[in-house]
Symmetry: C2
Subunit: 258 residues, 2 copies
């Protein structure tokens, strides 16, 4: 049914677009204010945009790299130079969460890393359940990047008899989706990754929500209705391809100017 799929895609794209627009508006607002007065350092994180958390993720990876190289301290300037980031943005992002920098020293790599992991909620091990043990689900179950950052792919769920009882190449077990609630509780699964066909996505997300999961990464091209206290993040692969298409048509996508 092309009409349905199209509607679903619109909704997914809209979610992503909303995130862009709102986050940009917020950052523009922040930037505009910056000339008037510097942002006040705040200890809590009660209203932080997704772009900010994305940047914190990036800083964390840079610090992990620096630590592996044996660095004990780093200045925002040097961090920015080594990893092609924006030094002022680094200072602003970090100041928002408290005073981590030490005058004349910069940041202590290990301390800042620990703080960032705390801020991102990575100081505890988060268990992830993948719903749908098709090609995409299996690929995600064995994706190395998740494990390296402390996420544990605890289980996969499917409704196909032939799949239930099997496991992914790296050993993630596939359970019957009918038992989702039981395993979510038993394994303390806090994030669900949806890798199911668009047609069954809403039915599946209802089961996920009923099982008590509050955070969902959605690869299915579909609109998902969830309660207000559940966060859904969509991954849209078509938008990425279309920006490459634009590049091929015009030969120039700006990185530093609009």
């Amino acid at each position: 049914m092309p009409g349905r799929e199209s509607g679903a895609e619109v909704a997914m794209a809209r979610d992503i677009s909303m995130a862009f627009c709102y986050n940009l508006a917020a950052l523009v607002k922040q930037r505009n204010k910056a000339g008037v007065r510097p942002p006040k350092p705040r200890q809590n994180a009660d209203h932080v945009s997704e772009l900010t958390t994305n940047r914190l993720s990036v800083y964390l990876r840079c610090l992990t790299e620096l630590e592996a190289q044996g660095a004990r301290t780093v200045s925002s300037q040097s961090l920015a130079e080594q990893f092609h980031l924006n030094a002022a943005q680094i200072r602003k992002d970090l100041a928002y969460f408290g005073e981590f920098g030490v005058r004349g020293v910069g940041y202590y790599v290990r301390d800042l890393k620990r703080h960032l992991r705390q801020i991102l909620g990575l100081d505890r091990r988060l268990r992830v359940g993948i719903i749908g043990a098709g090609n995409l689900g299996l690929a995600l179950a064995d994706y190395q990047g998740f494990r390296q950052e402390g996420f544990e792919i605890a289980a996969m769920f499917d409704n196909q008899v032939g799949k239930v009882g099997q496991q992914s190449r790296s050993g993630v077990p596939i359970y019957d989706i009918a038992e989702l609630r039981k395993f979510v509780k038993r394994d303390a699964v806090s994030i669900a990754v949806l890798a199911v066909p668009a047609g069954s996505a809403q039915k599946v997300v209802d089961m996920v929500v009923a099982a008590g999961v509050k955070a969902i990464l959605n690869f299915s091209p579909g609109t998902l209705q969830v309660p207000d206290d559940v966060k859904v993040k969509g991954v849209d692969l078509t938008v990425s391809l279309e920006s490459l298409s634009f590049y091929l048509a015009h030969g120039d996508i700006a990185q530093d100017d609009d």
Copy 2:
């Protein structure tokens, strides 16, 4: 080798972060100027940020949906309301590429859709080759969203004897990667999707570049060195999971404020 993987991930994250920082800087600059004078309509697209092309992708999906509903015209206001977008941003984005709006009417849905497809380079069929016929490659080969937007998954490439000669569920053939150059030319493949392990990503991207492909969507967690005229877009799934982790830790990611 954890050190290597970590370095690779840092690089990937850095690429994504750079895109964020630069695009934001550009948009902030544009927004700051907006109060002084409105952006001049321009017919060409010689310097457009990736965030802009992402938004154009979203508008295109909305228009496809409206057309399916039988709408002939739409105002930016109504487009914004129906799809929860920003009306001023829509007008600004579209004005950048010319004068598509008609006073008292808004936009003609079909015409605007055609224009957007032209701007995004989607008025010709783009052929995509997927490198790596593992779970992820196979999942991407059968991903419906690509086809619906006019991308054609022409072929997959792998170096495993057992895979070469097979095909994906939807019938995408798997060729020997040694024949990449031949098939890229024969099938006019213009976009390569990399779904290979991090360790072989650079070797594979060298082959892709040597075969004449100028646009690459990279799912491998690795730094890729490419010539200046080749565009690489990375997809980082860990960043998405970490923003969900933050949400779980703090219960609030802002959509409309920082």
